[in-house]
Amino acid sequence: MPTPAIEFADVTKVYQRRFGAARVPALSDVSFEVARGEVCAFLGPNGAGKTTSISILMGFIYADRGQTRVLGYAPGDIRAKERIGFLPENFAFYRYLNAEKLLHFHLRLSGRQRANAGSLIAELLAKVKLDSYKRLKIGKYSRGMVQRLGIAQALLGDPELLVLDEPTSGLDPAGRKEVRDLISALRAEGKTVFLSSHILSEVEQICDRVIIIDRGRLVRAGALQQMLAEGDRVEIIVDRLPADLETAVKQHGASVEREPNRVRIHVDAAQKRVLADMLTAGGCNVISLMPMKSSLEEIFLKLVGGGAE
């Protein structure tokens, strides 16, 4: 069985203020795994510890306790870094370089100087739609262009694992869709993508798994589809609903929505059996009884208490 792409086991990190005794806990015993080939979203409100976790993962900072492995290696190990593409949040570049020179610089740092470096870079710039701006200094780029360039540099060297911190930040709707398509294409190629995002509707479209943290603690981790299906409400569809029965149904906390040929009844899962029996006894034909899917946003807000997201 292959080792997971990312392993966090009881990771704890406390920031110590430089000239004071104040200790700010950033992560407390956080444990999760990301399997190879998965697209996994890392969610949490601002200040939840997402960037700290990603920094530990990349070897930029050290955890105080716990164990972290990336592609089977310790964070910061160059054998792991050779196979990782990383896009930091608010990506910063050498402003005096142009896109082409910056990618050449990163290619040299990755130790993969190739004969066809020029064509590889041109291909990447075309992929992120920056080929017409490749000679423009990065200092003159818009926020969205910088983000696209960041994605291009993350893709440099055909990485096995992509760690993307807010990949769609600063992009327009078309740019966001391109990033989503790109991530879907990467998944099809069998790459592992670990991304943090605040745009939950996008996460819902592209991710296989979701990890949610809040105030440095893991609050939920699991397969996205399973999470969405675990709603605590059900929908009962009946062919008709007499008025007296509607009153009785509403007394059980249900909501009723009438349509031309059917009636939809939404109720807490705990009440489904009582209501189904009541409706059948009342002569209604129960067409279906299905768990209602929650949106990721609803789940997220429920878990983090409608935090800062």
Partner: protein, 266 residues
Amino acid sequence: MKVRTIAFATFGGFLRNKVIILFCSLFLCVVLLMMFPLLGFKAVTNASNIENMQGMVLNEITIVMSMVSGFGSLLAAWAAADSLAGEIKSGTILAVMARPLRRWEFLAGKYLGVLMLMVIYAFALVGVASLLAWLGGQRFQTSLWTLVAYPFVRYAIWAAIAMLLATVLHPIFVIAVVAVLATLIPMVPFVTALSRFPNWLRLAVHLILPLTDVLSEQRFLTITRAALKPFPWTSHLTALAYGLDYALVCFLLAVMVFQYRNLSRD
């Protein structure tokens, strides 16, 4: 290869750095300003005041060279501190360190980038010194390499000290500490000579602070007389080796501290 890539990128950054450009402009202004009275002295020199005028000319050259050389030490310290702290502050370090690059390789690249800048500065220093000496009707009687090597090693020391300090301090504090050190160093011989200070303090001061006077060209070249003191090559070798060793120790300490440093913007 990776170290070289970082070094060239660092050097490239210096060439576009506004503070460095300001430094170089100041350097040029000082030289041009000092040439003005120098040429004036020369113009009014005649047979009756030649000795007096020549003394004034050479004195001025010494002042200019001390200033420019001192500027160089500050430039080396600032460039080293800013090149490291600037990367961390701007966040450019994150994308760079995400590449298969070890922390010591990054730091070595940064340090080499600073040394590339300072070797150019050392050559410029010698160029200016030669120009001023020529204007003053003098010429250096020592080989060019010594005039480049001594200031360069001094700059290497200051750059390494600054890099070590920059791993934990803001560049402004680094410059402040460097300035304090530069002020303290001339006092070292007095402190070590005074018996009222405890032995451990005298020894510590002697061992910890860099003896940049050992690395001064003044030891073998007195510019005001343009005369070369007899100085064996073994002395050059020992003095330069001392300087390089000191710089290396500081650099290795910087690597050690940087290894455990938080690289995120905080």
